[in-house]
Symmetry: C2
Subunit: 223 residues, 2 copies
């Protein structure tokens, strides 16, 4: 292993350990000594990579953001209408938040209004949902009773609610809960001719394909 | 004014000032000196009433909880079906969170999973929604396509999302956003015969009646 590879591995171990402590004890309670110990490195190695706890939190947020973007791009590689793509992505995000501690901690840190962040995941998610629903309009697949922004607001509100509630009970992020949300919402959103072809449970192949690429080994602690 | 009245007034001023600082700067950043200064009392007076910042936060949460319960009880005094009552209460809560700093800060503190609280507002809200929807079933006013718990989960998820998003942009808690939510949801929830009689914008008289009682002068700083 080259020096650069070792350095990169240490950096990832620190990000993972920080995410784990932020997730279990909250940002304020998490201590730098616990983070370096969790990564199996010295406090000096931590300070070589990150100048303070805030820099570590930034790195966790950024890693989460990159993973979510990458997963969304993979869903897009499976062809399908915009409504199905949106449904699939919501399932992929729910799995990632439930099962990947870096993503879970990063999303939570990003939602903390007391912190300033380089990325705004909720805004990015809102714009993303808006773009997909604009595409659904173009496809002739969205009901015209309401402006598309009504639907995107409700999708964003419900998904933020599920993420926040999922912090104390992961049932809120289960496949069945997300499916139920779409079972309730799709008949309000989808044009009648397309409704039977949109699967509220997400397409297995698209969801699995998006989850297949381990996000740079973030999902489990580096060896 | 008796000694007891003066003491009660100081206590309320401290709760209001703490809520204001928690709301603007977050719990961690808010300092005790700023809280006593904001209440116009000495640090000694603060310590006479509250042993530390956590005790102040508990008092803010408790005050918020009492105000929300009182407002909900007032909505119930206006007769109406369970679905209309639920719609009205959601509008009342949105106004209170938007306009009353003690309620806004209390709800936010209560949602902070790093704190332990004597009350669990989100759980209480969920049970409350469940009870109202069970009543709607009894009235024959709920669609039977889904179990009532599906609806209550979605109402809870969306309302938690709106509260959290409303921290950075109060548009999420506006009457038009809450109305839009019910415009989308009610046709999925309400039996066809009752749908035309449920107002998604809430009944003006019920909402105003619930908001009329100033929650122990918490809505504006005590004189």
């Amino acid at each position: 292993m080259t020096k650069q590879e070792r350095s990169e591995r240490t950096r990832k171990a620190l990000i993972h350990s920080a995410a784990d402590l932020f997730d279990r004890h909250g940002y304020v309670q998490a201590g730098l000594s616990g983070i370096s110990a969790g990564a199996g490195v010295s406090p000096g190695a931590l300070h070589f990579h990150f100048k303070n706890k805030s820099a570590l939190a930034d790195a966790v947020e950024w890693a989460a953001c990159q993973c979510l973007r990458r997963a969304a791009r993979r869903v897009h590689r499976k062809e399908g209408g915009a409504l199905q793509t949106l449904t699939d992505i919501s399932h992929v995000f729910a799995v990632l938040i439930r099962e990947n501690v870096v993503i879970r901690a990063g999303v939570r840190l990003n939602g903390d209004t007391d912190r300033t962040s380089a990325v705004e995941l909720r805004e990015e998610w809102q714009h993303y949902v808006q773009r997909l629903l604009t595409r659904a309009v173009g496809e002739g697949n969205l009901r015209s009773e309401f402006p598309p922004d009504c639907f995107s607001s409700m999708v964003v509100a419900a998904s933020v609610g599920l993420e926040v509630l999922g912090r104390t009970n992961e049932m809120w992020l289960s496949r069945s809960t997300v499916t139920m949300f779409w079972q309730l919402m799709l008949p309000r959103m989808a044009a009648e001719h397309v409704l039977p072809s949109v699967d509220p449970a997400g397409r297995d192949d698209a969801v699995h394909f998006a989850l297949m690429a381990p996000p740079h080994g973030m999902s489990s602690p580096p060896p």
